[in-house]
Amino acid sequence: MSGFRTAVVVASREIRERSRSKAYRITSILTVLIVLALIIVPSLFGDGTDRYTIGAVGNGNAEIIGAAEAIGNANVEDGADPAVELTLEAYADVSSGETAVQDGKVEALLVDGEKIITKSAGGFGSSSVVGLLQRGASTIRLEGLAAQDPEAAAQVVEILTNDALESVTLSGDDTDRESEGVIAYAGMLMLYIAILVYGTWILSGVTEEKTNRVVEVLLASVKPWQLLAGKIIGIGSLGLAQFGLTIIVAAVAIQATGTLDVPELPLASVVNLILWFALGFLVYAVLFAAAGSLASRMEDAQSTSLPITMLAIAAFFLSIITLDNPDGPVAVIGAFVPLTAPFVVPVRVALDAIPVWQYIVSIAIAAGSIVGLLLLAGRVYAGGLLQYGGRIRLRQAWRSASE
């Protein structure tokens, strides 16, 4: 019997038993429902239009509000919902208007087209409204000037509506490159989440055999690496199936509701992202399996796996650094370290900042280290096997296997 066949038998047991469990079905359904709710519910309540009520005292306010609304909706396509809708609410005097601001009935109070009063300087919504109103007021004043000199006015409008400097990049990039960077970053975020969530599944799955003591019967006929590989493949595919299902549902929901604009990606980028997602997941999965083999109970597994969680967090931060400086020394070295490469290489690829040889070498190192780590973890597993009770020290397990 070939070694891999046994790993497949182990993996298919994991898939059969776990997919049958209520816990798996319920978490899968719940995850999908929560993600759906996050996407659909906001779009039910809001139609993409921000609505504000603006208080007004005296004259000259309605023009400013009208101009601000026009600026806010400048980029909205014909027939689409407006981005901003401003409603004027008139007040007899400043003090009653101020009360309305204080009570939150109006977002801001305009006084005689000269002054704007808000509750405080901060706040997300109000500051953007204030900005719109300021630009509206500026436009009205420029129009006043323009009435006196139409030619100057045309120039002012020209300057205001376009970027003053022409933008050129040496690599001839367009904005697609930028959106690829964003997608790569989103990919890293998903890898990070998958590692932390499904890594824990593998961790507890490996500890399972020791907790219920099946391990002695198993290892009498199965090699440790076969058991570990089977567990990782089985639990990993179930986890990724759940993850993939969630992402597909989310993508369909986003398309249907039009909540987000998802840029289109070339096939090569998609393949690259999936390849590195798989490599990254496997590297960490093997580490989690090793951590699980050092523990004999779930409580201990949490502490043996802590260093791996920390590593994943550090590697994730490295991807942020790479995004800033994809050619820097951190990014170059990070591509050759199997634990950080999955977070670094896809970003560098997206930003077109990795030579082909580095790309190939980084894949070879990551794939090789998965096999190497699996054998090492198997040895630790065999060593820690018959030592029950609490955490097993790495050195102790190692030695016991070598004896």
Partner: protein, 295 residues
């Protein structure tokens, strides 16, 4: 034939195995005895490579053991272990599969063993829903499902009720009759005496007694004398030479005596001492041999 020769294994300062040598033949059942901590489990684990000995060897039909040979062995460890949520039939099929059976072979064999062990109605029950005794039966089936040539069972009778004990003995008998080599450890010496042809006693990491039960008993340097008599039995026993130990339960006296001692005439003296209810002079029981060996 399984041959274990001169195994040594230390865990730190503890010498778990100290030159342990043992053989198990096809078609024979060996009872593997020894006090707690004598090295029984360590020896059995060595057969499956779960422990690598410091020195010594384990061979099967003259071959050094590799994972291929071990796939043809069945093991029931002292630490029982099954997946609690897995159904009995699935569990056994899985065990068959990892021992190299095809899907169909494994499923058929799992069904056969569940039926054979009286669990015909329980195929689809989760292990955790079974009683302790029934879990034990599934554990035995897990060792048998791939039709192994060698069965190694660590305390298979521990915790079984008389009915389950009988089933277990029957199965082991069948396996032996079918030409399998069977070795199991136990503390139930009466049972071992009943069902095993061969015994080996391990003490402090090495085998101190090995052979067929009958030959060992005949060759033993001791005999078992049992006397139940009204009157002063102690004075009576003092007339005997070579008494090694006396155990008293009411008026019944269990005496271990040198095989060379002359007990002729003792029956007559016992009858004179008072009403004699019971008198027997036999080869020692396995329990007697065991005590002699490990003291």
């Amino acid at each position: 034939m399984l041959v274990i020769s001169d195994l040594h294994k230390s865990f730190g300062d503890i010498h778990a195995l100290n030159g342990c040598s043992l053989s198990v033949q096809r078609g024979r059942m060996l009872g593997f005895l020894g006090p707690n901590g004598a090295g029984k489990t360590t020896t059995m684990r060595s057969i499956f490579g779960l422990i690598s000995p410091d020195s010594g060897s384990v061979t099967w039909d003259g071959q050094e053991l590799g994972s291929g040979e071990r796939l043809g062995f069945g093991y029931m460890p002292e630490e029982r272990g099954l997946y609690p949520k897995m159904r009995a039939h699935d569990q056994l099929s899985y065990m068959g599969r990892i021992h190299g059976l095809t899907k169909k072979e494994a499923a058929d064999s799992a069904s056969y063993w569940l039926d054979r062990l009286g669990l015909a109605e329980r195929h689809d029950d989760a292990i955790e829903a079974l009683s302790h005794g029934n879990q034990q039966r599934v554990q035995l089936a897990a060792a048998l499902v791939h039709d192994p040539a060698l069965l190694v069972l660590d305390e298979p009778f521990a915790g079984l009720d008389p009915i389950a004990t009988e089933t277990m003995s029957e199965v082991l008998d069948e396996q032996t009759a079918a030409g399998k080599a069977v070795v199991f450890s136990s503390h139930q010496l009466d049972l071992v005496e009943d069902i095993c042809e061969d015994v080996a006693i391990i003490n402090e990491g090495s085998i101190v007694v090995e052979g067929t039960v009958k030959a060992l008993k005949d060759a033993a340097p001791i005999r078992h004398l049992e006397v139940d008599v009204d009157g002063d039995a102690r004075a009576l026993l003092e007339t005997l030479e070579g008494v090694r130990s006396i155990e008293v339960e009411g008026s019944r006296h269990n005496v271990i005596i040198d095989a060379s001692s002359d007990v002729r005439g003792f029956l007559g003296r016992a009858q004179e001492a008072g009403r004699l209810r019971h008198f027997s002079y036999t080869t020692p029981s396995l329990t007697d041999l065991f005590r002699e060996a490990v003291q």
